[in-house]
Subunit: 633 residues, 2 copies
């Protein structure tokens, strides 16, 4: 039975949302797993020892089992001789009794033979023919571990709620427990609701507006991490009857059903209908950014429903803040100690919307290993910000800004999340991709050379990569670099017979440019300036003559790909891109690509690793057309 607490207001407070979600019943049944599969699970009930460990009086040293009384008075000067009556080894049953005046050879771990009450260790004995001479008296119990010494039958071994780690598995092994009663994992169904969504691995028709479903697998992984069992339901596309059937099936099979925001009103209608017909809508909307459209309800007996926002970072944020704690709680798993860490704001961040903000943030360590926290993904909805966002900072409604240096608590998206060894920003470049592969745990944001320079100055990243001429002193400490050949990418065979920049201006060709942060764009602008000077014209006039000068793209290969697919006749790019895509290339020059570090981060191990990797620039650029190493300055 699902217990409910109804919370209806236009926008519920975050506290009320937590309470409503807490009120959902999500208690999986106890299950039994094999010992080998019990790691990470939570014990459902107390385990008492059902047997003594060891189950017999055990010799704790190699030596001779004796009646202690027989050895009384023995010493170095006056040994006592005992007749040797046999031997007992570990793992075998004694077939001999220790009568007065006799001894039995015994190995560590063996069962004490009847009659014996002590062991004389082998070092205190001289072996003779058929007898032993004991050089030291022993007391009853010496070198004997009585049955039940380790664990006695009836004793409490482990309590309910114990998290099973290797050591608990050890204790359970000792007790011979091979079937372990553990708390069940809550079953969480994930229903995918966008018409345009396609599952990874299936073929995509971008021309029909299809995109891959990001949230289903992301949330499934989050459910698993929180200790639940995710169940991905097939995607119903725009078949709303099928979607309704799937929702009903998920409600029957799962303890909790999740979906994430759909752009389709019809899909939302289906969800509302199923929630209202079978269960109850408990909450629509929470006064928190993001997550305003969050839905909470029941889907009849035994199943709850939570609707998450659609943007990937927002979905993960709301999942992390509201849903994962509930799943963990149902699974009996405490939150990982690493899931929350402290850091200080790297920049000042304003916010004043009067409702709580769950601010996605990235982390970077400074030179002393202290964590700096910076905001990312300000509502852009970009999937790439998923890997830039390490966690969230809860900003209360009455806080209007966070000061630079202010200490904040970061709820990590995953206990496994770590700050990168190096945080880099700047130009994108194929040689750079290879270089970064050689430095473990780097994070690189391809924001372009201009924005990269700006961010390095603002003090967040460790390094910036700048393509084109720049004043090194204005950027940072140069760690190394290379040159690359840039120019115009044209179709194979150069059908328009482009020979230089003049043709870009004069011929009637559809052009694709890069964005203004790109070092390639800067180089083009500079070359157009030179051409304008030559022609006695202005750069503006030349630019106006180029069709598509404002068609900008995000990555170094994008214009070339536009040429490849016929979307453009000519694109700004690199010789290496043209060659790798089988296109022709008209060179306009070489430009340096240089890696600069923030001076105060030079001692960071990751920066050192990057610097070391730059020693092998020749390897890094090997096979890239138009690339050259250049001496460090």
């Amino acid at each position: 039975m699902v217990r409910v607490r109804k919370q209806f207001r236009d926008l519920a407070s975050p506290e009320a949302a937590h309470e409503t979600i807490d009120s959902l019943a999500l208690d999986p049944d106890t299950e039994t797993v094999s010992l080998a599969d019990s790691r990470g699970r939570v014990l459902a009930e107390r385990i008492d020892a059902e047997m003594d460990v060891p189950g017999f009086d055990r010799a704790s040293m190699d030596g001779f089992a004796v009646r202690a009384r027989d050895t009384f008075g023995a010493d170095e000067m006056d040994p006592i001789e005992l007749e040797l009556a046999g031997a007992v080894h570990a793992g075998s049953e004694p077939d001999v009794e220790v009568e007065p005046g006799t001894a039995v050879e015994i190995s560590t771990g063996a069962v004490m033979p009847p009659g014996a009450d002590a062991v004389v260790i082998v070092e205190r004995v001289e072996e003779r023919d058929g007898s032993i001479a004991v050089y030291k008296a022993v007391a009853p119990g010496d070198s004997v571990m009585p049955a039940g010494t380790d664990i006695a039958a009836g004793a409490r071994a482990l309590g309910p709620g114990t998290r099973i780690t290797p050591r608990e598995i050890g204790l359970l092994s000792a007790l011979g427990v091979d079937e372990v009663p553990v708390r069940g994992k809550p079953r969480v169904g994930i229903v995918s609701t966008g018409d345009e969504l396609v599952r990874p691995g299936e073929s995509l028709r971008p021309e029909a507006g299809q995109i891959y479903d990001v949230n289903s697998y992301t949330i499934a992984a989050g459910v698993e991490e929180a200790g639940g069992v995710p169940e991905l339901y097939p995607h119903a596309g725009d078949d709303y009857d099928e979607m309704e059937r799937l929702l009903r099936r998920a409600a029957d099979e799962c303890d909790l059903v999740l979906s994430s925001g759909s752009t389709s009103a019809s899909a939302v209608d289906v969800i509302y209908r199923v929630v209202e017909e079978r269960g109850e809508l408990l909450m629509h909307g929470v006064a928190v950014k993001p997550g305003k459209p969050m839905l909470v309800g029941t889907l009849g007996e035994g199943s709850a429903y939570i609707g998450l926002p659609g943007y990937p970072v927002s979905a993960l944020t709301i999942f992390r803040a509201f849903v994962a704690p509930k799943i963990r709680d149902a699974a009996g798993l405490p939150e990982s100690r690493t899931a929350t860490i402290e850091g200080s704001m790297a920049v000042r961040e304003r916010y004043a919307e009067g409702r709580m903000r769950l601010m996605p943030v990235g982390l970077v360590a400074d030179d002393e290993g202290e964590l700096l926290v910076y905001p990312v993904d300000k509502g852009s909805g970009a999937t790439t910000s998923l890997v830039e966002a390490d966690g969230i900072v809860e900003v209360p409604p009455d806080v209007s800004y966070l000061a630079e240096g202010e200490t904040v608590e970061v709820q990590l998206f995953s206990a496994d999340v770590r700050p990168p060894a190096v945080l880099g920003v700047g130009e994108d470049d194929p040689a750079l991709s290879r270089l970064l592969d050689r430095v473990p745990s780097t994070r690189y944001l391809a924001v372009g050379s201009r924005e990269g320079r700006r961010r390095l100055r603002d003090g967040v990243p460790d390094v910036a990569v700048v393509a084109g001429d720049t004043d090194p002193d204005e950027v940072g400490v140069e760690l190394g670099g290379w040159t690359r050949e840039w120019g115009l990418v044209v179709p194979d065979g150069n059908p328009a017979n482009v020979t230089g920049l003049s043709d870009l201006v004069d011929a009637d060709l559809r052009f694709v440019n890069r964005d203004t942060n790109s070092g390639l764009r800067t180089a083009l602008a500079s070359a157009l300036g030179d051409l304008a000077d030559e022609r006695g014209s202005t750069r503006h006039e030349l630019v106006e003559a180029i069709e598509g000068f404002d068609r900008t793209t995000k990555a170094f290969e994008s214009p070339a790909r536009a040429v490849l697919t016929g979307r453009a006749d000519i694109g700004l790019g690199l010789r290496t891109s043209a060659e790798s895509l089988g296109l022709d290339f008209v060179s306009l020059g070489d430009q340096p690509v240089r890696v600069f570090a923030a001076p105060e981060r030079m001692e960071k191990p990751g920066v050192g690793a990057l610097r070391a990797a730059l020693e092998s620039t020749a390897d890094v650029i090997d096979g890239l057309s138009g690339y050259h190493t250049r001496p460090r300055e």
Copy 2:
């Protein structure tokens, strides 16, 4: 090929042992897993985007796709009318083109139809019959997310070595990647070598000296936690030919083979033989306590061998310190941030053996949540210390003691290990077991009333449980308690017709006692004192007359079980034990069992939870014969 660094000295230094183990090649091949199974794995190679995300120019708002130029000049006063030419929805291909003077209805996420270069949002438009009035001019690109804005084809998405958490799964989903190249997990074979060992789940013959195999499953769980794949080989018992075959098979199938110390010299001989015939012995013995007998070698091409000590805590200690880091490294997984924590020594600890000590320690939080660290399992080999030991402290050879309050670094046995909410010590009692079930995350060490009082005074535990009369002021703050009926447990039907303590002294009966720390033993001693006074004798004389007075056992039910199995005629115990085992009982009185807290720990939440649980003492003792609640003092 296994690369080796030979280290031969009588006892290798710990540093040399690390180096030797580092030199073992343990590099699993890359494998491919499905996206859904990739969480927690490590990316084997760089993932570049092979497509633009989104793969099309996408409307980012609900509205109307237009040619921006057509809207120039539109404002509130002077709207521009455009003919409505159709509609495009998310997930479908546009079947209409935007000609000059026309507009097409479009929903968020839909493909921009040919001809359109901007979206006028729905709020800026008045819909008319077959046309729209645009009240605001838009610029080209307004409310449009161009193809590749999120991720551009050719861009670096994730680097090799990236740990895959939910957010990386999100990015991979966006790129349509459903098969993920990840680093393989090293395969670790576990060979069990003691003659006397039996696998949990199999039947045990204690009379033949058999015990359950503790280390195999413990180490297997540790291997799994470190990112390896454990492979448990069948137990060969004392069949050495079979054991040799298993070792060879393990060497062929695994990257690393582990065994843990055997008490059997023959088993060790088999290991030596296989290592020497197929590979090379690189190290025998390390100057570290425990772990002196550690073996390191190779087992021919492609497999390494490490022999661990036999005591469970020692095996886990050496595994944690030397083997787990190697497995993690091979798996590409960094050590969890939580795997090492700081605390301060709760007691002074001496040590002066001139070699490094890996000291097993327990953790307890003080009232302010600061971690206190105390040594456990001083070489006892007890399995129970497995769950008392939270991790290890490395004590360098030249340190002769650790001072109370000194800060130490604890390497936890598992990142999931946490200090208990309450650490209790003292008497064992069936009602106490039930009480503890009601307080999450308790750790209780049944060391007896006397030792419990002593430890509470020494400042380590939070609470002590004392059975029998005691001066509360000398112990701590009383939280609550009950009384229990104690006496003599005799066989069903009371064949020797025992009626009181006199019979224990006078009749010729084999007795089983409890240890001197037990509150039951204290009660018995006191009753014997009274009897001696009555008889004008001494307690010593009475004790001398009891056969087996020195046969002590560890748990409250142990003497009763000895009576049940005929190993004794009479035992010290509780009415409830006698009744639950179907035995007879001769009452000698009631004794209080009381829970005392250290005054300075009264504010600990766990102590509060225990105190709250004690409010329900009546429930706790319900059904236990001879138990009564008693008023709190």
